[in-house]
């Protein structure tokens, strides 16, 4: 049996294979029109099609359908009087000062939104039941309009789903793809629940077709799909809730970062994934941080997903002087085409060009020497730019890096300081093509003591998928004052969620001993409208005060609280392969040294050693400044940092205390 993690990216589809005897990686060009084609080709070329396969796949099908508005022809059923729920949303506009703003592109046109004369109250009482004949009339209209998928969200269905269930029963025989709000997200706040349900309905038919094809090619029961909550789920599970697979690619990276860091002995990390156009950061405090407050393509998505913060700053980000005279970097990117100046065609100065000028890239060994870089070209364009500012080329290059680092430092502050964490308690785990060149300088800025640049940093997302557990999330709004609900009652209310969770995981093929069910409460002070999630313990109230204090710097133990939602996180523990170890040797890394080159940091030139990553052995020790070249990425060991190679081949860089 071979386990395969497959990450479909914009340019490449990455494969990581684990057999009982070895681990290897593979890459093919992606086939955006039919992502399955690249998957089949990769498996074929890797020669594993004859084996029994266990595939964990991060699919971009749902995400792209949503971003490009190429999903299903969709209908929306809601309570009469609220037909425009999705268009009105929270009645705010995206941009405060744009008076010529463009229209939001709705998932569902107005004429396919229908209101039903029915009403449930907030305490769950049914004021007016659903009239079957009214639903029949709507069904006729939906059929006539050629609708294939339907989102149903009735007011207060989280409190009592009876009316939604009735609508569902009426619709079922007619062959629509159906998404009903109390099953997608049983929580109060009608717009967010409706929006999450509509996204699900919008991507469901497409996902269904994609998964069927994949299963036909790879065999049923052998396909798992990565979800945005950091866990995977069977193809069957993904069909029921395709909304859970949106944004699953970056989630794979965070799982990979967490697992690789754990194997290296770090349980508290900040993952830092810097690519060509953007940078993703996320925080793991033993567990991955999740959020239920995300927005994708202007639509709120209320399911728990890994809390990843993205900023428009990457290797290809373009530097320019704005009309007020400030040096800006990004969010415009030179992308892959024309790319940075040093790639040979671009004419806009990018972060990559600046890194090259400062000696942080080796022009002769880029992509293992497969691609030539043109440092003299970069220097020429940068000279023109620098002269306008009265700067030298290296001053400009360092300036560009500082501005880009400031943006990324800010991104890390958002997920750490703003959430009540001190970055100094974490290790920075850096991956992505450009991450290794900036990690040490960011660590210095944020006083992070350790930087980890993992082995196989280029396929970390696929590796993460391979190492993920099955995770399913369940929730239910109860909106009760803590004083009015005993622990025993809460226990009782959890029971149906736990039952459902256990059943679902058994269906996913997990035996009792590999099932973990974690219970949480969403709690807030009465009158607040944001909740904090705390473990369900007898002392949950104290936990809440403590968390509130950590996040918002105050707490009031005497103020009454309210339990808003019950949450269950159901984890099916998969059998994970151990990460392979590399050959070990003494501290002397001389055998891996390629050459010396000039590098520049903070206005000073250094003669630095350049090493080949694949020649480094466990136990090797490097002193910064140094450069470590990998096939697809470069790691800079900054001045004042030392670096050791651990048994898995990861680079562990530490800041020496005596330096500031």
């Amino acid at each position: 049996m071979v386990r395969v993690g497959i990450d479909t990216g914009g340019t490449f589809t990455d494969f990581v294979f684990f057999s009982p005897t070895r681990m290897w990686i593979y890459k093919v060009l992606s086939t955006p029109r039919n992502p399955g084609e690249a998957i089949r080709r990769g498996l074929e070329e890797a020669g594993v099609l004859a084996e029994k396969l266990d595939v964990i796949h991060g699919s971009t099908v749902a995400t792209n359908a949503l971003l490009e508005r190429k999903g299903a022809n969709l209908g929306f059923l809601t309570t009469a009087g609220f037909e425009d729920l999705l268009e009105i949303g929270r009645q705010t506009r995206r941009e405060l000062y744009n008076i010529l703003v463009e229209k939001r592109n709705p998932l569902i046109p107005r004429h396919l939104c229908f209101g039903l004369k029915e009403r449930t109250l907030s305490d769950g009482r049914i004021l007016q039941p659903v009239e079957g004949s009214e639903v029949d009339g709507v069904i006729r209209k939906l059929k006539k309009a050629g609708v294939e998928s339907i989102a149903i969200c009735l007011l207060h269905s989280y409190a009592n789903p009876a009316n939604e269930e009735k609508v569902l029963r009426k619709l079922k025989p007619h062959g629509f793809s159906l998404s009903v709000s109390h099953r997608v997200l049983r929580e109060y706040r009608e717009f967010e629940r409706a929006s999450t349900t509509a996204i699900n309905a919008y991507v469901a038919p497409l996902m269904e077709r994609y998964l069927s094809r994949l299963e036909k090619e790879l065999g049923e029961d052998s396909v798992h799909i990565m979800q945005s909550n950091g866990g995977c789920v069977s193809a069957r599970g993904a069909r029921d809730n395709p909304v859970c697979t949106i944004l699953s690619g970056p989630a794979g990276g965070v799982v990979g970062a967490k697992e690789v860091a754990a194997a290296a002995g770090f349980s508290r990390i900040i993952s830092f994934d810097m690519g060509g156009t953007s940078t993703d950061v996320s925080l793991c405090d033993r567990e991955m941080a999740t959020t239920t407050d995300s927005v994708i393509s202007d639509l709120p998505l209320r399911l728990p997903i890994i809390d990843i913060h993205t900023v428009g700053s990457g290797g290809g980000s373009v530097a320019f002087i704005d009309r007020g005279g400030a040096l800006r970097v990004g969010p415009q990117s030179a992308g892959a085409d024309p790319g940075p100046i040093c790639y040979g065609r671009g004419e806009d100065v990018t972060v990559t060009d600046a890194n090259l000028i400062l000696g942080r890239l080796d022009p002769d060994r880029f992509l293992g020497g497969a691609m030539k870089l043109y440092p003299e070209r970069a220097r020429l364009f940068m000279k023109r730019f620098a002269r306008r500012l009265g700067l030298s080329v290296s001053e400009l290059a360092e300036g560009i890096i500082r501005v880009a680092d400031t943006t990324m430092e800010r991104a890390i502050r958002v997920i750490s300081v703003e959430r009540g964490f001190d970055p100094r308690d974490f290790a920075l785990l850096s991956f992505g093509g450009a991450g290794g060149m900036h990690a040490c300088s960011l660590a210095q800025r944020l006083r992070i003591p350790t930087v980890v640049v993992p082995k196989n940093a280029g396929v970390l997302s696929a590796l993460g998928m391979l190492l993920s557990d099955t995770i399913k999330d369940y929730s239910q709004s109860i909106l009760k004052r803590a004083a009015d609900v005993s622990l025993a009652e809460l226990n009782g209310s959890f029971r149906p969620l736990l039952e459902q969770a256990r059943q679902d995981l058994k269906k996913e093929g997990f035996e009792e001993s590999r099932i973990r069910l974690l219970r949480f409460l969403d709690v807030r002070y009465i009158g607040q409208s944001y909740e904090l999630t705390v473990p369900f313990l007898p002392s949950y109230r104290r936990e809440f005060d403590r968390l509130h204090h950590r996040k918002y710097s105050y707490a009031d133990e005497k103020r009454p609280v309210e339990v808003v939602n019950l949450r269950v996180k159901a984890i099916g523990l998969t059998k994970k392969p151990g990460l392979p170890e590399v050959e070990s040797d003494g501290p002397d890394a001389g055998a891996a040294r390629l050459c010396r080159r000039l590098m520049r940091f903070e206005g000073r030139d250094y003669q630095a050693d350049v090493y080949a990553r694949e020649l480094l052995k466990a136990g090797n020790f490097l002193r910064g400044p140094a450069l470590v070249l990998d096939y697809e990425s470069t790691a800079v060991v900054g001045p004042g940092f030392v670096c050791r190679v651990d048994k898995h081949g990861n680079l562990i860089m530490t800041r020496q205390k005596q330096r500031r």
């Binding site: 009087g81 009105i88 008076i99 207060h156 005279g325 500012l389 400031t406 918002y552």
Partner: protein, 532 residues
């Protein structure tokens, strides 16, 4: 020798803006009243030693010009030592309207006897007392609108002055919520102070101080460039408020914008005198609206700070409805008159740069406040919300429907939350079809919101554009006027723009908000067939 390093400028810009944003995150997340959390009716900013804004979070336009006046007022009236924080809401001493409470905290750096910077934030509280719940009454004097807090110390050397706090809390309907919100506001300022000190430690005081000034100069340069793109000339426009809520007389607001080179004079001479009812704007609000409009003509992002103000001279005649004197009632000036001031400013600019200015948006925030006793708990409740409308069509496209425009951008409260906590049922919350003005591009549609009261309550409606519709431009038709109705049994009564009344159990209040104006002449309809 370069005066300003473009690299340092960008780095400091990013730092100062992020401080204001971090303050905002803390305030929004930890406050109690839905006004602040759900509706995000607040603003946070960082100031230099003279009270000039350095950076302000992108929170709410109506607070733009008003924040620095609060800090100035505190500098003039309160001697803030280390660890002190001042509080105020007095519209005639740095505030806007009474529900907006501002906290100002100084930042002291080593070796300086005066504050080096200030961190401040303002938030709209759901109730600050006065003659009706929610503190947005149809008053004729400010004394009826709620408790007036002049600039005073709320915190002395790190300790809250219980005398002041208790005095304020004794004058409001929901003291626990107020105390929670004030605590959150204090926490936000503490974050601002802490970050400013960190920056000062890293870069030194002289450099931090000079980049505050450089950043203001930066914004000024960008504003001057934007004004330079407007042809020199004098551009006039006038429009009316429906009434002041006391008499039925329209209130005239008129502006002349004189553009010359890279600066402008904005002159409201000719505007009606201040009114008996509460539609009076103070100077801060008129300044905010002016800043908002000029900020909108800048394409792209720019840090909001006092540098943006320098190229613009504002003339607002004292004693007029755009610069009222005490004891004028002002609750509606902030929320309604500010929108009309925006409309006349944009109307004037449309004559100068027609290709860049949209038709009038709904022009009202449709303020609904109500309160009473919850029959299930016996506790008092006070609630305030605003309802969106149609956005004006632009020279490029249709306007958005069902959205807040111009001076506000507050979120709605989920119906499921409202019905859970208050004795009310929302019967309808939908777009008001065909309320947007016709034109080559259509104005956005307004909203219909129907409230059924499940217990007796006192309700206030403060709205506009029920008499004078939002204007269209370039031949586009105006948006449909709004309407407020009460239905009791089978009878429906029209209420006018502003109303204060009691409702009984079973009464239904219907608010229909205006659509946006259309842009350009509508093309004659083609005879299409088979198209529903």
């Amino acid at each position: 020798m370069r005066a300003v390093d473009p690299i340092e400028l960008e780095i400091f810009k990013s730092i100062f803006v992020s401080i204001a944003e971090e303050m905002g995150v803390a305030l929004c997340r930890s406050s109690f009243s839905p006004n602040i959390k759900e509706r995000q009716d607040f603003s946070c900013a960082v100031f230099d030693e003279n009270g000039g804004t350095v950076a302000q979070g992108d929170h709410l336009p109506v607070h733009l010009g008003a924040m620095p006046l609060s800090v100035l007022s505190v500098i003039q009236n309160v001697d803030l030592g280390p660890g002190d924080t001042a509080i105020l809401n007095d519209p005639f001493r740095g505030g806007t309207h009474l529900p907006d409470i501002t906290l100002v905290s100084p930042v002291y750096v080593k070796g300086r006897a005066r504050p080096a910077y200030f961190a401040a934030n303002r938030a709209h509280h759901s109730d600050v007392g006065g003659m009706s719940p929610g503190s947005m009454p149809l008053a004729t004097e400010i004394y009826q609108e709620g408790v007036i807090i002049p600039p005073v110390k709320l915190v002395r050397a790190g300790r809250i002055d219980r005398n002041i706090l208790d005095f304020v809390l004794a004058n409001v309907r929901t003291p626990e919520e107020r105390e929670g919100d004030l605590t959150a506001q204090l926490a936000a300022n503490r974050i601002g102070q802490k970050r400013l000190l960190e920056i000062t430690e890293k870069y030194g005081y002289p450099k931090t101080k000079s980049y505050m000034k450089h950043l203001q100069d930066y914004s000024e340069r960008i504003m001057r460039q934007a004004i330079r793109e407007i042809p020199d000339g004098e551009y006039r426009f006038l429009d009316y408020l429906d009434d002041d809520g006391v008499s039925r007389r329209p209130v005239r607001i008129q502006v002349a914008i004189h553009v010359r080179g890279d600066s402008a004079v904005v002159d409201f001479s000719g505007t009606d005198p201040q009114t008996e009812g509460s539609v009076n704007a103070n100077y801060a609000i008129t300044l905010s609206a002016t800043m908002y409009v000029f900020r909108c003509i800048i394409r792209g992002d720019v840090p909001y700070n006092s540098g943006l103000l320098r190229p613009i001279r504002l003339i607002a005649p004292e004693g007029s409805v755009v610069n009222a004197r005490p004891p004028a009632a002002v609750a509606g000036g902030n929320v309604e008159t500010s929108q009309r001031i925006t409309d006349v400013l944009l109307g004037a600019l449309a004559k100068a740069v027609p290709e860049r200015i949209p038709a009038a948006s709904s022009g009202t925030m449709n303020n609904i406040t109500f309160g009473g006793q919850h029959p299930a708990t016996g506790r008092n409740f006070a609630y305030y919300e605003t309802v969106g409308g149609g956005m004006g069509a632009s020279p490029e496209r249709d306007g958005l429907s069902g959205v807040h425009t111009h001076m506000t951008n507050t979120r709605n409260t989920p119906v499921e939350a409202l019905e859970h906590y208050l004795p009310i049922r929302i019967k309808r919350y939908s777009l008001r079809r065909f309320s947007g003005g016709e034109g080559q591009f259509r104005g956005g549609d307004g909203i219909v919101r129907e409230y059924e009261f499940l217990a007796p309550a006192k309700i206030n409606i403060l709205s506009e554009r029920r008499v004078f519709p939002p204007y269209g431009l370039a031949g586009g038709k105006p948006g449909k006027k709004g309407k407020n109705l009460i239905r009791r049994g089978s009878k429906a009564i029209s209420l006018g723009s502003k109303a204060s009344f009691r409702v009984e159990k079973g009464d239904i209040v219907i608010v229909q908000t205006p659509g946006g104006g259309g842009y350009g002449k509508a093309k004659p309809k083609r005879g299409k067939q088979g198209d529903d």
